[in-house]
């Protein structure tokens, strides 16, 4: 996850430099508040060896989470109340969810009900 955030920062830095050269005004991953723009992160959860990894993930509203199935058996990432659901993820498939304040944070694999994990939304 850190490497992904670093990649975003690096990409953003390059974009800012290019924009500055071109004399453009840009905002880098600015959230709703323009006064204190926050960096939004892209998190990745791997589904591998019949587990979600990491099984507990701290995120902020506006971040995105991408689940990638690395197992050769299909999985899902599904909220316990099913309000969000990746549907079937075969090997290599991905599903991305943008975090909102009200999303249910406990989830599981619909096919393998012992596979459970959670998201923690930080202030």
């Amino acid at each position: 996850m850190i490497s992904i955030i670093k990649r975003i920062v690096k990409t953003g830095t390059v974009a800012l430099v290019c924009a500055a050269v071109l004399g453009l005004s840009v905002k880098l991953y600015a959230g709703d508040s323009t006064e204190s723009p926050a960096m939004l992160a892209e998190h990745i959860v791997y589904i591998e060896n019949m587990e979600f990894s990491p099984s507990q993930l701290q995120v902020k509203v506006g971040d995105s989470i991408t689940w990638i199935n690395k197992d050769f058996v299909p999985h899902t990432a599904t909220a316990l109340d099913k309000s969000w659901d990746s549907k079937n993820l075969s090997k290599g498939d991905e599903y991305t969810l943008v975090v909102t304040a009200d999303i249910p944070t406990d989830y599981y694999c619909f096919y393998h009900t012992n596979m459970v994990a959670s998201i923690e939304i930080m202030e």
Binding site: M50, F72, V73, P74, Y111, T113, N114
Partner: protein, 179 residues
């Protein structure tokens, strides 16, 4: 000529790291070579797929249906991986006493399950799934994985074991929650 070909095939398989020697007409799981172990696993997968199809046909319990669909989905995926690996290695799985015993035993179990309906079927199916996965997982973990010579075959069995252990837990939960 046949002997010569056999020797050449054996030497190729040894280069691939596949154990093909084993005991002639092995009568113990410990004596099975890689190709025989692969056959047992393939047969065991197909047997569980058969049980699952029976459950879809006879059970009316949605949880049993979901479990059965997962068994079909996962065991078909494992078999696809196994067949792909054997094709890549240029070898075929080899029939043996244990594959034949599993098939013979499964016929008796299918006969018993087929005669049941409703909650009786659900309980018998769940109990059988738990027992079957426990037995196969014990064999894979305790005998097959330590004895497999080819690294890729071993890795596939190690990945498969994680899947089947998840199935065992799922089956245990099903047994515990059935009325």
């Amino acid at each position: 000529m046949f002997t010569s070909l056999t020797k050449r095939l054996a030497s190729v398989l040894v280069v691939l790291g596949l154990s093909v020697g084993g005991a002639a007409n092995a009568q113990s799981p410990e004596d099975l070579n890689d190709l025989e172990i692969a056959h047992v696993a393939y047969v065991a997968d197909n047997i569980d797929i058969q049980y699952a199809h029976l459950a879809l046909a006879l059970s009316e319990n949605p949880n049993i249906h979901e479990f059965a669909r997962t068994m079909i989905r996962d065991h078909e995926a494992v078999n696809e991986q196994a067949l792909g690996l054997l094709a890549k290695l240029g070898v075929e799985a080899k029939d043996n006493f244990l594959s034949q015993k599993l098939i013979a035993d499964s016929k008796g179990i299918i006969d018993k399950l087929t005669a049941l309906r409703g909650a009786e079927f659900d309980k018998a199916y769940a109990d059988n799934e738990l027992g079957y996965h426990k037995a196969v997982n014990g064999l894979v973990e305790g005998v097959f994985i330590p004895n497999i010579q080819n690294a890729e075959v071993k890795a596939l069995f190690e990945a498969g074991l994680k899947i089947f252990k998840a199935h065992e837990k799922h089956a245990q939960m099903m047994v515990d929650t059935l009325p």
